[in-house]
C-alpha cells in the first residue's frame, strides 16, 4: 500500500511538472508533420532551446482558422501561402512577426511584417525524360503540344498548387488566359483535388506531365538517385510560391511564439527545409544549401502577385480556367 501511495504521489508530481511546461501550439499542413516532413526535427530542435512543449495540430489551415476565429487554439500558424494571406489577414487574428525582412534570401523583395516566409518554390510542369523526349521549352510550346500528351493538374478551388497554376497562367497570358486554357484543355487528363493524387498518377505513368514544383526533381535526385525527372523551364517565367509563418495575436504564450518566429529564421530551421520539405529555404544563402542543391535548374524569371494582387485576380483567373475547361 505504501508503495502504491508513493507511486501515485510520483505520478501526480510528474503530472504537475508537465502541466507547468508551457505549450506552443503550431497549426501546420499535413505534409509538414509527417515523418518525412520537417516537423519532427523542428519540434526536437526547438524544444531543446525553448524549455517548452511544441505541439503540431494539422488539418486544412484556412477553413479551420476561419471556423475557429478568435477561439483558435493556435499560437503560431505555419504554411499559408501568399495567395491566401489576404484572406487570413482579414480575420485580424495575426500579430507582427518582429523579424528583420532583410535577412531573407528570396528572389523577390519581401516587406510584409505579419507573414514571414520560411520557404519557397516555383510552380512547374514535371516530366520523366525516359517517357518524354521533347518536353515543351516554352509555355506556348506546352499549349501547342500534341493532344496525345497528357498532363494532370490540380483544382484551384481545393489546392494551393492548383491556385498557383491559374495565377501563373493569368500572369503569363492576362486577358488571353481563357484562350490559353482552351488550348491546354485537350491535354488535361484530369484535374485532381490535391497535389498528392496528381503526383501519384504521374509516377504511375498515367500522365506524361504533372503540375508540381521546380524542386520536385530534387526529391528524386537526392532521395532516390533518380535523375530522370525534370521540371520544364519556361522563359515566360514561373509563378513564385512562398509559404509563410505567422504569430497569432491572442496567443497566451507570446514570448514563446516570438522565440519560434526567430527560430524559423535560424540556420537550424532553414537547413531542414531542402531535404525535408523539398523546397528552397527563405533565409539561407545559396552557399549554405545542401550539396548539389545550388546546381538545381531554377527559372530565370520569376512571376509573382503579392497577396493583394493575388486576391484581386483570383476570381477572374479561376473563372477563366473553369469556363474554358467546361466547354
Amino acid at each position: 500500500m505504501r508503495h502504491l501511495t508513493f507511486a501515485a504521489a510520483m505520478t501526480l508530481a510528474a503530472g504537475a511538472a508537465q502541466a507547468q511546461t508551457p505549450v506552443l501550439t503550431v497549426y501546420a499542413g499535413d505534409y509538414f508533420t509527417s515523418e518525412w516532413g520537417p516537423g519532427p526535427t523542428i519540434e526536437t530542435e526547438f524544444e531543446k532551446v525553448c524549455d517548452c512543449d511544441l505541439q503540431f495540430s494539422t488539418g486544412d489551415l484556412m477553413p479551420r482558422l476561419l471556423l475557429e476565429g478568435e477561439r483558435t487554439k493556435a499560437d503560431v500558424v505555419i504554411g499559408l501561402t501568399s495567395d491566401v494571406t489576404a484572406k487570413a489577414r482579414s480575420t485580424g487574428l495575426f500579430a507582427p512577426h518582429g523579424q528583420d525582412n532583410s535577412d531573407l534570401t528570396l528572389p523577390i523583395e519581401w516587406t510584409d511584417d505579419v507573414f514571414l516566409p520560411f520557404n519557397y518554390g516555383h510552380t512547374a510542369f514535371v516530366f520523366d525524360d525516359t517517357r518524354m523526349e521533347n518536353p515543351p521549352a516554352t509555355f506556348d510550346d506546352l499549349l501547342n503540344m500534341s493532344d496525345d500528351v497528357k498532363i494532370v493538374i490540380q483544382d484551384p478551388r481545393t489546392s494551393i498548387s492548383g491556385l498557383a497554376l491559374v495565377l501563373w497562367v493569368e500572369a503569363v497570358y492576362g486577358d488571353k488566359a481563357q484562350e490559353a486554357w482552351s488550348k491546354l484543355a485537350p491535354k488535361i487528363l484530369t484535374v485532381t483535388k490535391d497535389w498528392s493524387t496528381s503526383y501519384g498518377m504521374f509516377t504511375d505513368g498515367e500522365a506524361d506531365m504533372v503540375l508540381s514544383y521546380t524542386t520536385s526533381p530534387a526529391y528524386h535526385m537526392f532521395a532516390e538517385d533518380d535523375f530522370t525527372k525534370h521540371a520544364a523551364l519556361f522563359p515566360e517565367g514561373h509563378y513564385f510560391m512562398v509559404e509563410t509563418v505567422a504569430k497569432v495575436a491572442q496567443t497566451d504564450v507570446p514570448e514563446l511564439a516570438d522565440q519560434f518566429m526567430s527560430f524559423v529564421m535560424s540556420d537550424t530551421f532553414q537547413t531542414q527545409i531542402p531535404t525535408a520539405n523539398w523546397s528552397l529555404p527563405s533565409a539561407l544563402p545559396q552557399e549554405q544549401w545542401p550539396e548539389g542543391w545550388a546546381e538545381l535548374d531554377l527559372p530565370e524569371k520569376v512571376l509573382f502577385y503579392d497577396e493583394a494582387e493575388a486576391a484581386a485576380v483570383q476570381e477572374k483567373a479561376i473563372e477563366a480556367w473553369r469556363s474554358a475547361l467546361t466547354q
Partner: protein, 517 residues
Amino acid sequence: MAQRADPVTRNAGITAAAVTVAVVLAAGIGILSRAEPGGFGPGDLAAIRFTVVQALLSAAFSVLLAIPLARALARRRFFGHGVLVMLLGVPFILPVIVAVIGLLAVFGRNGLLNTGLVALGLPELSVYGLHGVVLAHVFFNLPLATRLLLQGWQAVPAERFRLVAQLNLSPRAVARTLEWPLLRQIGPGAFALIFVICLTSFAVALTLGGGPRATTVELAIYQTFRYDFDLTRAALLSLVQLAVAGTAALAALWFVPSVGIGGGLDRVPMRWDARSGLQRWSDIALILLGAAFLLVPLGAVVLRGLLGVPLMPASVWQAAGVSLGVAGLSIVVLLLLALPMAGWIAGRATGGVEAIGLFGLSASPLMIGTGWFILLNPVVDPAVLALPVTALVNALMALPFALRIMVPRLRDTLREYGRLATALKMRGWSLWRWVILPRLRPQIGFAAGLTGALSIGDLGVIALFADPDRATLPLQMYRLMGAYQMQAAAGAALLLLVMALGIFWICDRGGRSGVAD
C-alpha cells in the same frame, strides 16, 4: 388497435429516429448560424445537373447489367459458386480511394485494358469523363444490384421452375411469366437506392471526372468550404442535395427490397428450363465477364500493394489502429440508432418511417461534420471531436442499409413471438435480450460488418481537423503520397483493402456462427 401484438416499446425507436434527424438538422443550423447573405455561384446549376445525370446513368447501368449477371448466377451451379458470389460483393464495401487505384490500374491510360488494345493495334480508350464516373459507380454498385436481384431469383420456389420445364416454355415465355414480375418488383427499388448512393459521390467524380465539367454537388460543397468559405452557398447546396436525394429516397422506400445476407445465396434451384447449350455458354461468359470486371481491379491493388508493404512506416500501423477504433465506434453508434429504429418500424404496418434512415445518407457528410464543428467549437477542442464526428457520420451513412437488413427479420420475429411475449408480459430489454437479439444475430453481424467496412475507408471530415497522432489510415495514405512515398501508399491501400474485408468478414461470420439458418 390497442390490442395489437406490439411488445416492442416504441419510445426507444422514436428517440433514435429523433436523434438522427436532430443530428442532421443541428448541423444545418450550425452552418446557417455563421452564414452571411449569399447565393449560388457560377457552375452550381451545372453541378446539380451533372450530379443527377451521372446518378441516373450509374443507377441505370448498374441495374441493367446486374439483370443478366444475377440471372446467370441464379441458374448455374458450379464449384465455388458461393465464394464467387461473396467475392463479387467486395467492391461495394471497398474504400473509394482503393477502388480508384484499382480501376486506374485496369482502365487507366497505362492500365491493362489499354496495354492490351495497343498490343492489338487498336486505339486507346480514355477512362476520364462522365463515362469514367459512371464506370466507377457501376463497379461499386453492380454487386449491390446483383445481390438484390439474385435474392429475388432465389426466392422463386423451385416448383415453379419445374412447372415451366414441364410445360416446356420457351426462354422468352419464362422471362415473361417468371422473371419479368420479379424484375418489376425488385428493379425500381434497386435503381432508386443506387441513385441515392451515387448522388453524394465525391472522390470518384474528382479523380475520374476529368475536370470541372464533372463537378458533383458534394464536390461543390467541399470546394465552397475549402476555397470560398461561403457557408450560405454550402448550406444551399446541401439543401439541394438533401432535397434531390430525399425525393429519390422516399420513392425508393416504396420499392426497395430488403438486403439479404450471404447465408442463403449458395442455393441454386434446379433449372430444367435453362439447359440448352446456348444459355449455358452465355451464362458462363457473363459470369466470367462480371468476375473479371469486379475482381481484376482488386487483384491490381493487391499486386501493387505487396511491394509497398515492407516500406510502410510504423505510423501507418498506428493510423490503422485509429481507423479500427473509428470503425468500432461507428458500429456501436449504428447499432444504438438502428436497433431501436428497426424495432419501431417492424412493429408498424407501413415502412414510411424508414425514410428517416435515408435522411442521413442523403445529407452531405461534410455539412454534418462542419455544422457540428461550429456548434461544438465553443465548448470542445475540434481535434478531440474529429474522430467521434467521423464515426457518427459513418454510422448515419450506413443506417439505411442496416434498417433494410434488420427490419424484415425483426418483423418476422415479432410475428412469430409477439403474442407469446405479450402473454408472458415480456417487454423492453428482456424481450430484446431473450427473443429479438438472438434471432437477429446474423442480420446484426451483417449490418455491423457493412458499417465497419464502409467506415474504414472514409476520409471524411477528419482531413479538416486532425492531430498528427489521430490520423486515420486513408489520411495517412494521403500523407505518404504527399511525401513522395508512393509505394508505401500503395501498401497502405492494400492494408485498407484487407481491413475493410477483414472487418466485414469477422462481423458477418460472428453473427452467423452457431445460427442454424
